[in-house]
């Protein structure tokens, strides 16, 4: 819906006011085909209304979905930390009271992957084991190390909260069920998109949105071959590669496919909002964006000099940043439980 409005406004600007240059004539240069962010794909039967998104938002922050009533989805996917958690490795059940970097507790085996633009992914998680947003939600629910609550039990708990029962009834004819629980959460995650970055404006014809440094980075990014995997405009891919990160202990995509070629391979993550989604890679072993760029540049097919590396970093920092659709944290959740507190961000 929002994308439609953006496109409409852009069209009016050109047609109604003659303001922006035609993309074909005098449009800002790109090292690849000009393509705007696509519409979010919707599986058949998905309900993507504002009411469904709002319901999903409340569930996302509500610890009612954890066995012990202390964790929510936002514990590991906080808007404060790029829809990740700022940790090297995620910490689920049994962690300290506080969320965010510095959280203590038993570490899971992988870094919390950002949810930005998860709406577009054909498969979810670092190893792609979930086939859809609806499907992926049962993984953290069922994991004994994470939310640790059977989906059916989660649905029963939610149904027992009058506000949820009413909201579900207003969105889904069948009321609360495992299916509608997944549907509501998926609707919320589908709303977490980035379509208004400086890069998007640039693609739409506004040359001035990228300064010289970021523009240099755009072309350096292409020269270094980065776009072969981090494919614009999403700057990700539904593909899996081993990039020499970690010690090889994690089989990665192999766990899903059983194909030796996939051993140690992980999803190509989106680079949108990447400045805020560190630490980087599936094991969170690379702390800074500049170091992540270095790691990848070292493996490029062409030599990537220090100036290009710095320019690529700047491009990623400035041109691909858009948190305008960042979710709002509710003041309270319908269950009445205490939301996980982000202790590494001063209350403000």
């Amino acid at each position: 819906m929002r994308r439609t409005r953006v496109a409409l406004a852009g069209a009016l600007l050109i047609a109604g006011c003659g303001g922006a240059p035609e993309p074909e004539a005098g449009a800002p240069r790109l090292p690849w085909a000009r393509e705007a962010m696509p519409e979010v794909p919707l599986p058949s039967g998905a309900v993507q209304t504002p009411e469904a998104v709002e319901l999903g938002r409340l569930l996302f922050y509500d610890p009612v979905l954890s066995g012990d009533g202390t964790l929510s989805c936002a514990t590991c996917h906080s808007e404060y930390w790029g829809l990740g958690d700022g940790l090297t490795l995620a910490i689920g059940k049994g962690g300290s009271d506080l969320a965010g970097p510095g959280r203590q507790g038993p570490a899971l085996r992988r870094n919390s992957i950002t949810l930005w633009n998860a709406a577009y992914a054909e498969h979810l998680f670092w190893d792609g084991r979930a086939a859809s947003l609806e499907d992926q939600i049962r993984f953290p629910l069922e994991s004994a190390e994470e939310l640790d609550l059977a989906p059916s039990a989660a649905a029963a708990r939610v149904a027992a909260v009058p506000e949820y029962a009413a909201r579900f009834g207003g969105v889904f004819a069948e009321g609360v069920s495992v299916r509608t629980l997944e549907g509501a959460l998926a609707a919320f995650v589908r709303s977490l998109t980035t379509t208004r970055s400086a890069y998007d404006r640039y693609v739409a014809g506004d040359e001035g949105t990228l300064d010289a440094g970021a523009k240099d980075g755009l072309f350096a990014f292409a020269r270094a071959g980065c776009a072969g995997c981090h494919v614009p405009p999403r700057f990700d891919a539904d593909r899996y590669f081993a990039r020499g990160v970690g010690q090889g202990a994690d089989p990665g995509r192999f766990d899903v496919t059983g194909d030796e070629a996939d051993r140690g391979a992980f999803r190509v993550p989106t680079l949108r909002n990447v400045v805020n989604t560190g630490p980087y890679f599936h094991d969170g072993s690379v702390e800074t964006l500049a170091a992540a760029v270095d790691h990848e540049a070292d493996q490029a097919d062409v030599s990537v000099g220090s100036a290009d590396r710095a320019a690529i970093t700047r491009f990623l920092q400035k041109a691909l940043l858009d948190e305008s659709q960042s979710p709002a944290r509710p003041a309270a959740v319908p269950s009445g439980l205490t939301m996980p507190r982000d202790g590494f961000r001063i209350v403000r």
Partner: protein
């Protein structure tokens, strides 16, 4: 209800009749340069959210969005990202004529969130945000100019924490603004590098003007009154950007800051005692000069380390990169008078006699490091050195002798004007 597209088209047509630049054409593409003529002009409508949000989305770099006089009813947060060199400005006779009214806001954390370089907001009023007011984050050279922001219900705990809030920005300019009612800071500059805060008025907030975890900040010609604390220069743990260094606060007028602290429970500023004129906490290289700090109920100028908060307030922190000490403060040529006669409980713990001095230092320094605080030429201002943990335990170990602090430190240079 007007269809969004129709509203936008009407707006655009209207602009053509008002502005010599119309809506802009390929001929006047500005290549990112800042202009202040109106490229797009909007007026209050039946659907102000759509009118304004669509106008913001439709801007291109270097454009100016003008708001005609009137009140805009906004039920939803406005946002803009990724468009540099944009100005949003009121074009009424004064900022009071153009009001963004968020009284009925139901969606969004803040009133207006921006993530775009070289953004300017000027000549308008932001009223009753549901949460914080105008937030500009991760951006280069934002400007807040001649903006009024306030909560009409007065100083309430339910009000948003901050009215004007640039964070994680570089080269910030905040000038000629007036804020009232924030439940944290009226005017906040945080986690930023290089910022000028000048000629602003702040009142009715917990903190009038706050500089937090920033490098190279100049605060001058501001007036703060009727807050719990007039001005706060602070280094806090667990923030993305570390350290508060080189704050230069001069020619400010901080007076009658006696408002009962109404911060929500759990916020750090809940611990700031009512009656504080200027509080410096755990900052490095702070210069405080030529200010008037008068008639605040507690001490006029208070300088403390995080350690004091730990001891007195029970605060804890677990940030390995945090620097908890007040390092190198230079307090000179101020008029600090009439403070410390209306102490609240927190200060009464320190001053059982019922009155406090004009200038207070907790005396806590890193071990083996000599005192680096200078207090000189502050007229008849009285002074107390708590003398660290010794003096906290035993008041007889405290001192009111300022002569050991009669020293001079290099002056901080005035910051250059930014090309916003």
């Amino acid at each position: 209800m007007t269809h969004p597209a129709r509203t936008w088209l009407l707006t655009c047509s209207f602009t053509l009749s008002l502005s010599a630049f119309g809506c802009g054409s390929s001929d006047d593409a500005k290549g990112g340069e800042k202009q202040t003529d109106c490229d797009v002009t909007v007026a209050p409508s039946a659907d102000d959210v759509t009118t304004l949000q669509e106008a913001l989305v439709g801007l291109t770099s270097g454009q100016t969005l003008c708001l005609e006089a009137g009140s805009y009813t906004l039920t939803k947060e406005l946002s803009m990202a990724g468009i540099p060199h944009v100005t949003v400005q009121g074009i009424g006779a004064s900022r009071d004529d153009v009001v963004l009214d968020f009284k009925t806001q139901t969606e969004g954390d803040d009133a207006f969130s921006v993530q775009a370089d070289y953004f300017t907001l000027q000549h308008l009023t932001v009223k009753d945000p549901r949460g914080d007011g105008v937030k500009v984050t991760s951006s280069l050279r934002p400007t807040f100019r001649d903006v009024r922001a306030y909560w009409s219900a007065g100083s309430k705990t339910e009000n948003g924490s901050y009215a004007l809030y640039p964070a994680e920005c570089d080269d910030v300019l905040m000038e000629d603004c007036e804020v009232e009612g924030s439940s944290d800071a009226c005017i906040y500059l945080g986690q930023s590098t290089t910022g000028i805060v000048r000629r602003n008025k702040a009142h009715g907030c917990v903190i009038g003007i706050e500089a937090e975890n920033s490098l190279d900040v100049e605060l001058y010609d501001n007036e703060a009154w009727n807050n719990a604390c007039g001005m706060l220069i602070v280094n806090l743990p667990n923030l993305t950007r570390k350290d508060m260094q080189r704050a230069n606060a001069h020619d400010n007028y901080l007076h009658e800051n006696d408002l009962a602290n109404f911060a929500p429970p759990g916020a750090f500023v809940e611990a700031v005692p009512t009656g504080t004129g200027l509080l410096v906490m755990a900052a490095d290289t702070t210069e405080i000069h030529h200010n008037r700090v008068e008639n605040n109920g507690g001490p006029g100028v208070t300088m403390v380390s995080w350690i004091t908060l730990q001891v007195l307030g029970g605060f804890t922190q677990n940030d390995p990169d945090y620097q908890p000490y007040l390092l190198t403060a230079n307090v000179h040529d101020n008029t600090v008078s009439g403070n410390g006669t209306r102490l609240v409980a927190t200060y009464l713990d320190l001053f059982p006699g019922g009155t406090a001095e004009d200038i207070l230092w907790d005396g806590i320094v890193p071990s083996q490091t000599p005192a680096s605080v200078c207090v000189k030429n502050n007229g008849a201002a009285t002074f107390r050195n708590i003398n660290g943990l010794l003096g906290l335990d035993d008041p007889t170990k405290q001192s009111t002798d300022v002569t050991p602090f009669d020293c001079t430190q290099p002056a901080l240079a005035a910051l250059p004007e930014f090309d916003q």
